[in-house]
Symmetry: D2
Subunit: 362 residues, 4 copies
């Protein structure tokens, strides 16, 4: 059973390898008759693209997408939307001497162990390059949801190393994120982040981080217990993200320290709508959306590609020392921001369509 | 698209409500010819069952399972294994005055919002009672894996409130857990946990906690990138567990504060097998098992059922004050221990069979 | 990947073996708030049950169903509906000497070849007994559809051996079928059928047949090309039925002999609705329902259980002669009638909910 | 739930429309390490391509495929194989005046009814053009199976109109098919077929037909009862084929007229292997392969695109007369031959991998 897709009603299948001629996605289940805003899709892809500044990789990725099916006179037809993104601007040279050695923290060894063969260029299938088509698909999901529910999503860097943004989840505005080269909304601490990244970059080292995401205007009722819960499905795609090592929703791990009295969100009615006074649940109860903002965080480890000398072994089991060449992100969490938005959009769109099928028309 | 199943090759579908006549599961995809150890299944169910002591609910749950299909002369036939567990020993009285009011922290409101109707007794479908069939199914998965790989799984309470066990992941033995009425392996701090639980129970309050799980002897190669990664699938079922609010693997959220140099696990060869010197990855790289122990943690919020007075609303939108009756767990994390083991076994067994199908026979 | 389910939005999973303590089904995806008519479900089960008359098996099957989950005060809750049917009134004695021999025309050999083990009593998993839970699930599907679309389904025996009913598809009424002990609507030829069955029964032989099914009031638009087409999905479940060897829709195999001019159904408008003047398509074009009646036929081979002497081999590869004991249907097509209705209802209900999810709300 | 895929372990997703810039498929679940024979894939595509002779459409389809992912140094890597086929050599002019009218026998009306929008050029998504990527995917499936089981598949035209080939299923050789411009293996009757096609072509009319397919060297044990039976899955994809109206396996519809004594295939042992003396079952019992040749037939209606005048309606419900322009196949069954082979290969490969996962390694 292959695992190249997300979603059941809105299904996104991603194909390709880092250094192949192209990468892409087939998006199935998009409702018909939607006029897609191509600029919006490109805008999200541009957010994912590495810039020329220090913090992120300077690899030249021209992420121009092409939609080659599923549209008729600019509108979706309900049939699969095939998106192709050409690969170029890279060189395979950085990887030739890595073809038989396992980079620490990377998936070289596990792909070899699983498949007995692997594409060694740029990490092949395991490269974060494959998040580009995910971002394009997510931008479509967000447009479907925006039409249906007024959906609004915003992710940003919450933490880099031990520098934590002090802006509360509900108070971050899109401008706060766009105005920062490192997607960090806390202006007072942004300098600290930049200095840290600069220092590590110079050392050839890298650092972990945390991304926070807030989704507003998701109606109550999305999520399919017992096992396809909305929070469970978000956790799955987020922990599956390159470099991700943890997921928490609402109060998350800190809720372990709270009592029931402290943690329960009391219900009230506001403007005729049931709400919770607080939102420690993070917008999900029993795996179903409450109608309150969905708030979650994803922890990322440091980029494993560092130019410091590391011990490892090669495919013959011989000890090797490696230093990874090339220009890599110092903190993958920063570039993960639009990918987190895309994956959350896809998951929520999928649950929107599932809800419509089973419960939406009484 | 209903969400009542886990797994693709090894599929577990769970049916039932807390206070119906019975609950159960259909387990599909179990390979044929396996002689099931029924005592082992009952033992896991007994671990989940509330005891008569303070920390966990004293509700009388006689979790006797019956396998009504899929076996021939004690061996699996490769056809669906249907397991039925009768419900008894409960009273619906505790819930009759809750039929139109939304308990804070529970799924009453979201089920009502989604389905427009809900079974109000004992939480109906959203009850933790539904984890009993999951535990039975998990015990079967563990037996399949034990035959195939020497699989060994151990979960325990890592933290209750702010009391943290200081025993390192690799050092906990099954006896350390079984010897504790609260599944807490740190003998020195167990008294602290018991005192905390006793105090909260008396107050009618509850507390959160963290469960840690270590899985050994999972060969390298399980997991299906890009999107059905082993860690992603674990995250999905764990965050979907009643009361769970977070999941982390290996160094998890703490890896956000580490540099690449600190966090990368260097490879070495030991007894002819590729290993990592450290295991901050928690046994998974690129979504595929490395062969090292899989180590993860799940954060649980406090039991939302507290007997303290809480504000809420009813289905007419009127303000209400409620005090929840009945005997509830003070800390759900404690009873979640065998459920975490069961869910992890199911996920890993599913990936074992998927691996066999695509990569296992060259 | 287990294959024990039909449907994606409306999913029916069937468990059990012919001579186990019970058999059953888990029905997922039923929309909430539907008041199920239990008598209607029982009525369909009774149609499947063998009567005491000659043509069908006299095995005593008391098919009383019990719904043990998914209902609250008589209404569906949107959660899985678990249905259990007890097995009784059978004896295992007829099968003990068949435990190591392969009955011609049965699945004994193929189950053994696939699983290396099989339940030999009454055919175990491969028994037509397993169609009982399918009929119960189908009766639920039909009720969902009746509420949504005015759905009306009618199957009957079109042919037994070479005796063909001359009543045209659209002209058969439910009474014509119910009034016949062999579900054969052509009163003039019914005697011929009964005489044939009687003769074969006496000889210990059996005969094949064809079932025809007409489904009315299915709106245009159900079916999911390219590969989950409505006719394809019908074909799959029908050919998968015990003893089925063929499926055709509309003009079917006879369309192979027609020219385009003869076969094309011209469009017209009637009462403001697009219709086709003729219906050689059988209600489906391009895999999507046209709104015209869906008409299809299923060919069944003769019951393989005959009491005439047959040559075969046993599990050691030795030649054996067998004579099958017990009271078996002379023509399985007759009892297949309510099962064909059930399977068609399930498939169409599944497509109804899929349609609602993707296209139903613009 | 979108329906753009076939298979569960070996999954083929097809995207594109007849007159878009390209069409393609994503093939998931291909085992790693297989050296693909590209010529073999092209050969199958060429068989599907219309030639320049009378019987089939003269539309210029240059079906050159490109594999853009999933290969490393010529070998499969176990990751998705993305195949792109450029569209060219067509003109949209033939379709502009058909944009608002429903062609009889085509899917114009049903796509419009379902999606509320449709790509009118060349039938858009419903075009037989979309079988090109299916053929490429099927050629990969056949190579996987050939490596594993010595798999051998052969389809051919059994019947055109009422001209039936008299060569028995087991006696047709690949040369008999390749040597015929109409894939008709009966040399004596081929002239009759050609004359019929020529006459109908001149009249602007078309004709139906039947394709027969024989698959050898499929081991016993493939198929997943109760509902993913091998014959059921074959029926689904075959009936879903453009223009298909029926499917039968083994004796098929003719088995309805046989008695149990006539129809049952007796078992015997030959060269240490269990076989059946006859093969009226067509290689499948109880939904599982027997190890005997799989023999099935698919009925096709006449090409609905005829240049004779037909009555129909347009999207405003007005009566219209149309004559379809362009050069269309006189008998679609002829060109369906390689597509039938491809779909059967895909289904059997899928079941091969499912078998390996659940039952293949004891």
């Amino acid at each position: 059973m292959p695992g190249d897709s997300i979603g059941k009603m809105f299904r996104v299948t991603v194909w390709g390898e880092s250094h192949g001629s192209s990468i892409g996605t087939v998006v199935e289940g998009c409702p018909p008759g939607i006029e897609l805003d191509m600029n919006e899709i490109q805008k999200q892809l541009d957010k994912r693209k590495p810039g020329g500044t220090g913090p992120v990789s300077t690899r030249q990725e021209q992420d121009r997408f092409e939609i080659v099916s599923g549209l008729f006179e600019g509108k979706t037809t309900g049939t699969p939307i095939s998106i192709v993104i050409k690969n170029h601007g890279f060189t395979k040279n950085n990887y030739t001497d890595l073809s038989d050695v396992y980079r620490p923290g990377h998936a070289d060894f596990t792909y070899q162990a699983k498949y007995g063969i692997r594409d060694c260029y740029g990490g092949g299938r395991s490269s974060a390059r494959l998040t580009a088509p995910v971002v394009a698909a997510g931008a479509i999901a967000a447009q479907i949801l925006a039409g249906g529910t007024g959906f609004r999503i915003l992710a940003y860097v919450k933490k880099v190393g031990s520098v934590n943004s002090d802006i509360a989840a509900g108070s971050v505005e899109p401008e706060d994120v766009q105005g920062s080269s490192v997607n960090f909304p806390d202006r007072e601490k942004e300098g600290e982040v930049l200095a840290l990244l600069k220092k590590l970059k110079r050392q050839g080292n890298s650092i972990g981080g945390v991304v926070e995401c807030v989704v507003e205007n998701v109606p109550a009722g999305f999520g399919e217990p017992l096992f396809d819960k909305l929070d469970g499905d978000l956790a799955k795609v987020m922990v599956g993200l390159n470099g991700a090592k943890g997921f928490e929703i609402g109060a998350g791990f800190s809720s372990a320290e709270l009592t029931g009295e402290q943690n329960n969100d009391e219900f009230a009615v506001e403007n005729g709508k049931v709400v919770t006074i607080t939102n420690r649940a993070g917008g999900v109860l029993g795996g179903i959306s409450t109608g309150m903002p969905i708030v979650f965080r994803v922890a990322f480890k440091a980029t494993p590609s560092i130019s410091l000398k590391q011990n490892t072994v090669d495919s013959d089991g011989k000890s090797r020392k490696i230093q990874i060449k090339g220009d890599h992100d110092t903190c993958v969490a920063i570039r993960a921001v639009p990918v987190v938005e895309a994956l959350a959009s896809i998951v929520i769109c999928d649950h929107f369509l599932r809800y419509r099928g089973q419960c939406g028309v009484k």
